[in-house]
């Protein structure tokens, strides 16, 4: 994750683009994921437009999970702000909080699924039910990726690898979480539409 290495590896030559490679990589990954989720959401909207659409109430747990994800995004930003100010310890603490919130988000999502099941809404009950499970499931699977990244960053943070100059890992992990929040909010709005 060390961007300066890439800069120096070129015999002091100037970079063609003044953006570190990992950042480009993450942006490209997010571009691919944007396509993934927009296709999924388009499929949902197309299906919603058909006459036989039956809408389902979004489980209440999803409201809570949305709050958790917002909070996680916020603390990830606080972690970045702290490391920019050179406060590695505070940054690490915020990362730990972010990790906790993100894990809790997944727990809340599973809880939401249980609410759906308790209401008799099974995966194959009708297309809207299938979409709720599929969309939240696919989003959740991508959030797991974020949790793995958070753990790595947290471990590196604890061993003092980040500084006010060098904290790309924290920045990119935060970016990923913000993206996941954006996707979820969009999904949540669409799922709430009747």
């Amino acid at each position: 994750m060390n961007a300066t290495v890439a800069m120096n590896d070129r015999n002091g030559q100037t970079q063609p683009f003044p953006i570190p490679a990992p950042k480009i990589g993450v942006w490209l990954l997010l571009a691919a994921m944007t396509l993934l989720f927009s296709l999924l959401l388009s499929a949902y909207v197309v299906r919603m437009g058909q006459v036989d659409w039956i809408s389902i109430n979004v489980p209440t747990a999803f409201f809570g999970s949305t709050g958790l994800l917002v909070a996680g995004s916020l603390t990830a930003w606080l972690a970045l702000r702290a490391i920019r100010a050179g406060d590695a310890r505070r940054s690490t603490s915020w990362l730990a909080v972010t990790l906790g919130l993100t894990v809790l988000f997944l727990v809340a999502q599973v809880f939401g699924w249980q609410q759906l099941l308790a209401d008799g809404v099974l995966l194959s009950t009708n297309p809207s039910a299938s979409f709720i499970y599929l969309m939240s499931g696919l989003h959740g699977a991508h959030v797991i990726g974020g949790i793995v990244a958070l753990q790595v960053v947290l471990r590196r943070g604890r061993s003092g690898q980040y500084s006010s100059q060098d904290h790309l890992g924290i920045e990119l992990t935060g970016l990923y979480l913000h993206f996941m929040l954006g996707v979820w909010v969009l999904m949540f709005i669409l799922l709430s539409l009747t």
């Binding site: 070129r10 015999n11 100037t14 990589g25 990954l29 571009a31 691919a32 499929a43 299906r47």
Partner: protein
């Protein structure tokens, strides 16, 4: 992520680190190439099964109506995804990008290694699908529901297709890891002086194809996941109320056309994912061996960009008669014919590059010229199929089979052969045998025409694709059976000719003629490495400094008929 490893360029120790779990882009490229060629050989054997049945109906008992469909389906899927995509991006992309832009390796070497092994897992899963209960899927390579996942329609409608979807999902992950790497490497690791408009067209084409892959594969992933849910978990994303086997099934409310939209949103850019790199490779080889700069370099680059952009808005030209809103037909026909313009520009530019050149007709050049020819006939016949009303009688007939085999199958594989013959000396230090190479070319190129030109004729007579037998079709004359036998005989001959290539590939490794530093007298940067076969890190203490574009051939007043990309600026016009 992998920069720590990237940083220190000491040679990795041990056979595992060096050849198996290598992070060196050159080793990974060879790994990709070998696996893709092996899988492609399997795909070719499957095509023989198809041709044996159609050419000699009833002669081969082991080909039945059910496993015939499995052969058809798996042949298509293997060739498009596991051979062409993997070899052009994973093989050529990995090998050429760092060497051609003067980098020491990929931007993320660990990710690169993971990409190959993920691809390897996807291949294993795809092969494993043959051994699950019910066998591999026989639903056609497009896997259109409901047919592909309803038991009682095609074979492999349960475990077989689920396994295949799992394999495709894994492949998408591998492709995404690779794509991130190729794009980032091109943007970030170009050596000093290597501006974007000094990049060889091979790099440009793989760069653009990788972006296409990053943006197109998600559609396959989403469609595949939803199809998997319908098949394994009983959801109804794509399956409406259907009555099969004497009863109404439990599905309700799905939309089968939605799947086709998702599939072709991936499927059409996929065509360009495989043909663009072949175009790039052919461009470079033609220019080198014509001893003449490529004609209209910037037009070549911009037409590839145009093709890439437009390729995302033409997908439904595969669906003119699918039952989608027929008014979409106008738009998709117009967009499709617009894409003909940049394709034509590229074709003219290859032809102009040949004109007044000093043509070295070695094996790579022959394959590159063959590529231009098959791309011309394949592309032109696309004007029938893209033009909505002309598509109606031809859709899903052998005309379509001939068209796409020529334009993206044969053309891409000719490009691949050209590239392998061309860069083999870079990989091994030895040239492949020219005599065997030329024999391979004559058989493959002439054979391709003898297979696919008659297939157009079969198609215009209205014979549909994916038919186990044509007996009793009254609209076509008797002679169509003879045509089919003719095609099959040539398919077998061309197939056998590939053995020459395989033997050549293997024996030249140790016994081929020593190539020297620059056997094709190319101006490209990849031929200017300090070692003939570049070691770990590719370059010496310093990466090269590029002073000019890669097409400096036959410059008036120059001492030789080429000037290397990193030659000092004063030795010729930049």
């Amino acid at each position: 992520m992998g920069h720590d490893e990237h940083h220190d360029h000491h040679e990795p120790q041990g056979i595992w680190a060096k050849y198996i779990f290598s992070q060196d882009h050159k080793v990974i490229a060879v790994q990709y190439t070998i696996v893709a060629l092996a899988v492609g050989g399997f795909g070719m054997v499957l095509s023989w099964m198809i041709r044996l049945q159609l050419g000699f109906p009833g002669e081969f008992d082991f080909i039945r109506a059910d496993n015939y469909l499995q052969f058809v389906t798996q042949h298509g899927m293997i060739m498009v995804v596991y051979l062409l995509t993997a070899l052009l991006l994973g093989g050529f992309g990995n090998y050429c990008i760092p060497l051609m832009i003067g980098a020491r390796d990929m931007a993320f070497p660990v990710l690169n290694m993971l990409s190959f092994w993920t691809y390897f897992v996807s291949v294993i899963l795809m092969i494993a699908a043959f051994f699950v209960p019910g066998g591999a899927s026989g639903g056609g390579w497009t896997l259109n529901p409901p047919q592909s996942i309803l038991p009682g329609a095609s074979p492999g409608a349960e475990a077989g297709i689920q396994m295949l979807i799992a394999s495709l999902a894994v492949f998408v992950i591998a492709g995404t890891m690779g794509g991130l790497n190729y794009v980032t490497t091109v943007l970030q690791l170009r050596t000093k002086g290597m501006t974007l408009m000094r990049m060889p067209l091979t790099v440009w084409s793989i760069f653009i194809a990788s972006i296409l892959a990053l943006l197109a594969f998600p559609a396959l992933f989403v469609g595949g996941v939803m199809l998997f849910f319908d098949s394994a978990l009983g959801t109804s994303f794509f399956i409406p109320t259907v009555f099969q086997g004497g009863k109404l099934l439990a599905y309700e409310g799905g939309n089968p056309i939605l799947y086709q939209h998702l599939f072709w949103y991936f499927g059409h850019p996929e065509v360009y994912i495989v043909i663009l790199p072949a175009m790039g490779v052919a461009s470079d080889i033609i220019s080198t061996n014509a001893r003449k700069p490529i004609f209209g370099y910037s037009a070549m680059v911009w037409s590839m960009i145009a093709i890439a952009v437009i390729s995302f808005i033409v997908w439904a030209h595969h669906m003119f008669i699918s039952g989608m809103n027929p008014f979409f037909g106008y738009w998709f026909a117009i967009a499709t014919l617009i894409i003909a313009v940049p394709s034509a520009v590229k074709t003219f530019n290859w032809v102009f590059t040949l004109w007044e050149g000093n043509l070295q007709l070695n094996t790579p050049m022959l394959f590159a010229i063959g590529f231009v020819s098959t791309f011309i006939i394949g592309g032109l016949t696309g004007l029938f199929l893209g033009n909505v009303i002309a598509d109606v009688p031809l859709h899903d007939t052998y005309f379509v089979i001939a068209h796409f085999h020529l334009v993206m199958g044969i053309s891409a594989i000719l490009g691949i052969f050209a590239g392998i013959y061309y860069w083999y000396p870079k990989v091994t230090g030895r040239l492949m045998n020219e005599k065997m190479g030329k024999t391979h070319f004559w058989a493959t190129f002439v054979g391709a025409y003898l297979i696919f030109f008659p297939m157009f004729m079969v198609g215009v007579q209205g014979l549909p694709r994916r038919y186990f037998s044509f007996s009793g079709i009254t609209s076509a004359p008797e002679s169509v059976g003879g045509l089919n036998t003719f095609i099959s005989v040539w398919a077998l001959i061309v197939g056998v000719a590939q053995i020459i290539f395989l033997v050549n590939l293997v024996i030249s490794w140790k016994t081929g003629k020593e190539a020297g530093h620059n056997p094709w007298r190319s101006a490209g940067l990849e031929w200017q490495t300090p070692d003939i076969v570049p070691g770990h890190g590719n370059w010496g203490a310093e990466t090269p400094v590029v002073t000019r574009w890669p097409y400096e051939y036959s410059t008036p007043g120059a001492a030789e008929d080429f000037i290397a990309q990193d030659a000092p600026a004063e030795s010729g016009a930049g």
